[in-house]
């Protein structure tokens, strides 16, 4: 057992966990944050993607003990109260989901992608960077549209931070 502290969506949590606990189990089973999904458990599908210390990672393949002291953002941490995050809005507007199983991972990957590229994304880059996220429903077209729309909003916000209301 190890005692670990992780700051998740801005709140520090200290728990005693078995050393074999995966980060995704810590989030789902110890903190009850079930928005992060487990699709494959083999590091392929990306449904478990969260942002750990500023980088999108597959939380099914990271030990919670190894993330001790770190900062995590999950899908639950994106919205500001009732106001959805730009990427969440874009997925809704562009119909970027059907069953929704892959969606939390897709959205966290998109948030990371837009930040790393500072919104400068084209379709080929988005498709390439979604390689680690599998969707069995949508055929990806609307997911790509949603990411591009959110990236465009990011660029607009960068140019005129006050002009666009959040959400």
């Amino acid at each position: 057992m190890s005692q670990i502290t992780l700051t998740v969506n801005g709140v520090p949590h200290t728990r005693d966990v078995e050393d074999r606990t995966l980060l995704v189990q810590f989030l789902r089973e110890h903190l009850g944050l079930t928005g992060t999904h487990v699709g494959c458990d083999t590091t392929q599908c990306g449904a478990c993607t969260v942002i750990l210390d500023g980088r999108a990672v597959k939380s099914c393949t990271i030990l919670a003990a190894a993330a001790d002291g770190g900062t995590v953002t999950t899908i639950e941490g994106l919205a500001d109260g009732d106001r959805l995050h730009d990427v969440q809005i874009a997925f809704r507007e562009h119909h970027g989901l059907q069953c929704g199983f892959c969606t939390p991972g897709m959205i966290m990957t998109a948030v990371d992608m837009i930040r790393r590229h500072d919104g400068e994304l084209d379709e080929a880059t988005v498709r390439h960077e979604l390689e680690g996220n599998l969707c069995r429903c949508t055929g990806y077209h609307n997911i790509v549209k949603a990411v591009l729309a959110a990236a465009e909003k990011h660029r607009a916000r960068r140019r005129a931070p006050s002009a666009l209301p959040q959400g």
């Binding site: 050393d19 995966l22 999108a56 990672v57 190894a66 390689e131």
Partner: protein, 271 residues
């Protein structure tokens, strides 16, 4: 996954002493090979010794004649390094072609080189560039380091600390990926060294892991252009054959990737 105990030593010395005193130990870097193996119960170390907190394993140093990369450096950091892109663009491009964004954020060069998966990318760069694997106890030239499938010259408990790559005249990397796993079905790293020598390292195809294709090296030495290897084929007897590709098909891919690598010197060609 079976029970295990996690350790995070702060130095290499501490890691080595843990390794020698603990039952059934294993080193852990990104864990993107080891943890999937543990989940599948193909590996069950009782003690995991995380190397990432040891400062000796981090950092990138680029000199006019060489690039030195700390073993705990994630693939994404190598891919994004402006200095490595300028010194050996094919090396940065190769790192950026490994797996996907999330895996590149976590998987490390040291873990990849220690694991020596026959379809992994970095072994081709280490062998093609005539790199050196610096460990906690010695320096191992690439030609002596990769011994067989998932096997290396590392002794039990030996830690890969840094990998050093001489800066070549130019280098190119071409890979044909398995459409499902995205690992290389065959890939070739071709380097023209400053002493005039040519090295061709092939990954994904060899039944003993990464190998140098000597006939292609001589042919390219005589005439450095894609057509120089047109009449050559590696012996399928030494290549892997599985549900994804027969040895004969892999032999053709090895030739095609070698030609493409020669055609893309100074970069990568990933398909």
């Amino acid at each position: 996954m079976y029970q295990t105990t996690y350790h995070r030593p702060k130095t290499i010395a501490e890691a080595v002493s843990l390794y020698s005193s603990l039952e059934e130990p294993a080193y852990l870097s990104g864990g993107h090979t080891l943890l999937p193996a543990m989940k599948g119960r193909l590996a069950a170390p009782a003690n995991l010794i995380d190397l990432r907190a040891s400062p000796e394993l981090s950092g990138i140093e680029v000199r006019p004649d060489g690039v030195v990369i700390g073993a705990a450096t994630p693939h994404a950091v190598v891919a994004a390094s402006a200095e490595i892109k300028a010194a050996i663009p094919a090396l940065a491009g190769l790192a950026g072609s490994i797996a996907d964004v999330q895996v590149r954020h976590v998987g490390t060069i040291g873990g990849s080189v220690a694991n020596n998966d026959p379809a992994a990318d970095y072994p081709a760069a280490v062998l093609g560039l005539a790199g050196t694997v610096h460990t906690d106890r010695r320096s191992i030239p690439a030609d002596e380091y990769f011994t067989d499938l998932y096997s290396t010259a590392l002794e039990p408990g030996e830690i890969v600390v840094r990998i050093e790559f001489p800066v070549p005249e130019s280098a190119g990397y071409a890979k044909f990926r398995n459409p499902a796993s995205r690992y290389a079905l065959a890939a070739a790293f071709v380097a023209r060294h400053r002493d005039g020598s040519i090295r061709v390292a092939v990954t994904g195809a060899g039944s003993s892991g990464v190998f140098r294709w000597a006939e292609a090296e001589s042919a390219l030495q005589a005439r450095f252009e894609p057509a120089a290897v047109e009449a050559l084929l590696p012996d399928p007897g030494g290549l892997m054959s599985d549900m994804h590709a027969s040895a004969e098909y892999r032999a053709h891919l090895v030739r095609a990737m070698t030609k493409r690598a020669v055609a893309c010197m100074g970069g990568v060609d990933i398909s």
